[in-house]
């Protein structure tokens, strides 16, 4: 007994397909319709127009593709269009943020601004600069890195290369908990210690709080990088009669150094923008204070905050805040580029 199945396959391998330019036309059409709907319904917000256009684009793509090309290709196209919409949703706010910062930041950003402090300049007067804040950020972040990077890397080495059993599990757990500590809590923790010893605010206290925030990030990223080093390399080295610690130092770390550096740089970028602990522990100071171990200091994020909050809407203070924001973004971006450069330079070589 045999059942006859109707063969639904087409007789040719060539199916109907939309022309290459069709996504652009559909996008243009959906934007036009969305603008029409927006004007007709009297919607004020351009964001609403954009979202309507995005929904129309996704639905339109699916409808047209399923009519012309069939179900399977339509699903493929809907996935592609969703990816594009998600991409735009992510990029548009980012680009507008950078644009706004650059547009407003360049007004007062010049060499004078970068090399002078706010010393005798009143909050509402023009002039002054961020030299003292740059010094503060560099010293606080630098010291925090000096504390957190070695401890973090060594912790990660312990977890990946040695850690077995309960201690390793406990360390992993606490690193996870530390990842979730809000920055203000880290600040309060250090502050409570400072209060016990009746200390005045100083830069290094901020570094300690920043180090607490940085450490788990370094541990996590380094751990992942060390896990990526193939076990075969460790075994090859051990089989040559190289002790384990030298294997880690000379084989495992060099192989992973690019990724570890990137991780540390990203962690630095993260703490460079922290305001809360600095506000609590470093306090802010319009004068230049080069000594992180005594007296209040400034830092870039704190400077931005204080320019906004203490100037009661004065124009020059707003301009200074934007210029400082631009400096901070540039600082973080330069760090990221450096990290990428180091990662590429140190990556295992494959060339012939």
């Amino acid at each position: 007994m045999s059942t006859v199945l109707t063969d639904k396959r087409p007789t040719t391998l060539r199916g109907a397909s939309l022309p290459k330019w069709s996504p652009w036309v559909i996008a243009a059409g959906s934007v036009a319709v969305a603008v029409g709907i927006g004007l007709g319904a009297g919607l004020d917000s351009r964001i609403q127009w954009g979202l309507i256009a995005a929904i129309l684009y996704v639905l339109g793509t699916y409808a047209i593709a399923s009519m012309v090309e069939g179900k399977r290709q339509a699903k493929d196209r809907i996935a592609t269009s969703l990816v594009w919409v998600a991409f735009l949703l992510a990029v548009v706010p980012l680009a507008s943020l950078v644009w706004a910062t650059v547009e407003r930041g360049v007004k007062v950003l010049d060499v004078y601004f970068l090399t002078h402090s706010m010393g005798v300049v009143g909050d509402r007067e023009p002039g002054g600069g961020i030299y003292h804040a740059i010094i503060g950020t560099l010293e606080q972040v630098g010291l925090a890195t000096l504390i957190a990077a070695p401890i973090g890397v060594l912790t990660a080495i312990y977890l990946v290369e040695y850690g077995r059993g309960n201690l390793a599990r406990a360390v992993t757990f606490f690193v996870d908990v530390m990842t979730g500590i809000p920055s203000i809590v880290a600040g309060l923790f250090i502050l409570s210690i400072m209060l016990i010893f009746e200390m005045q605010p100083f830069g290094f206290a901020g570094s300690l709080a920043l180090a607490i925030l940085m450490m788990p990030v370094v541990v996590r990223s380094t751990e992942e990088m060390l896990k990526l080093v193939p076990n075969e390399l460790r075994e090859a080295s051990l089989a040559l009669g190289v002790p384990k610690w030298r294997t880690i130092l000379k084989i495992v770390l060099p192989t992973a150094i690019g990724g570890i550096t990137t991780g540390i740089m990203l962690a630095i970028a993260r703490i460079a923008g922290e305001t809360a602990p600095v506000l609590l522990l470093v306090f802010g100071n319009p004068f230049i204070n080069n000594n992180p171990f005594e007296g209040a200091q400034a830092s870039l994020p704190l400077y931005i905050y204080q320019q906004y909050s203490q100037s009661a809407g004065a124009e020059p203070a707003y301009d200074r805040a934007w210029a400082a924001s631009l400096t901070l973004i540039a600082f973080v971006m330069i760090l990221n580029l450096l990290a990428r450069g180091i990662a590429r330079w140190k990556a295992p070589k494959t060339g012939r």
Binding site: E232, E235, A236, T350, R352
Partner: protein, 258 residues
Amino acid sequence: MAKRIDVSGLSAYYGSFRAIEDISMTVEPRSVTAFIGPSGCGKSTFLRTLNRMHEVTPGGRVEGKVMLDDENLYAAGIDPVSVRREVGMVFQRPNPFPTMSVYDNVAAGLKLLGSYKKSQLDDIVEKSLRGANLWNEVKDRLNKPGSGLSGGQQQRLCIARAIAVEPNVLLMDEPCSALDPISTLAIEDLIGELKERFTIVIVTHNMQQAARVSDRTAFFNLAAVGQPGKLIEIDDTERIFSNPSVQATEDYISGRFG
């Protein structure tokens, strides 16, 4: 240089699982001993117990004795690091150090073990690369990354790296399984030359290879999956392949199972 290995009553565990059970054999110096047997029968595990690499695996544990000439590798107070300097190893997949040049790969063992003069290192690197039949192919690119070589060249680079530290015994864990026939032939020729200086133990899945390169052959088997692997017999290669004393060996070699 070459030393005799004498194994008695050796069992190896992964956690509570016994991978090989009660193995005793003698490996003669300046000869090639091949291990054959079906997958999972513990050949590689046994090989790794011979230079204490088994215990590198989490949960790895060994019982029994391995005598290298007159020293028990598993006696109290024996430093596994020193054992591995005496008993070198070449792995299944070529694994040159990716951050190092060809030169540094060969010199890695020496550099990581102690300080050598540049001229001394140059000599040893050249000698080892010549010993691995690789010198002519790489002498113009000693400072290029080792991972840029072809698979067969990489494997010979690993052999050069292993013999550069002048071990007494060289263990090879399926050194040709990732290679094409021409590279395989190069490495088999190399094994023939190396046995003048080293004691060589090689694990292989290729029975023709065992027949071609080895002086003695050991056949391993396991009763069933989940059971520990056992040494069935060890004898002169010629005898194993023509007239083995155990029926299971003959069945395996003639392809009736496994």
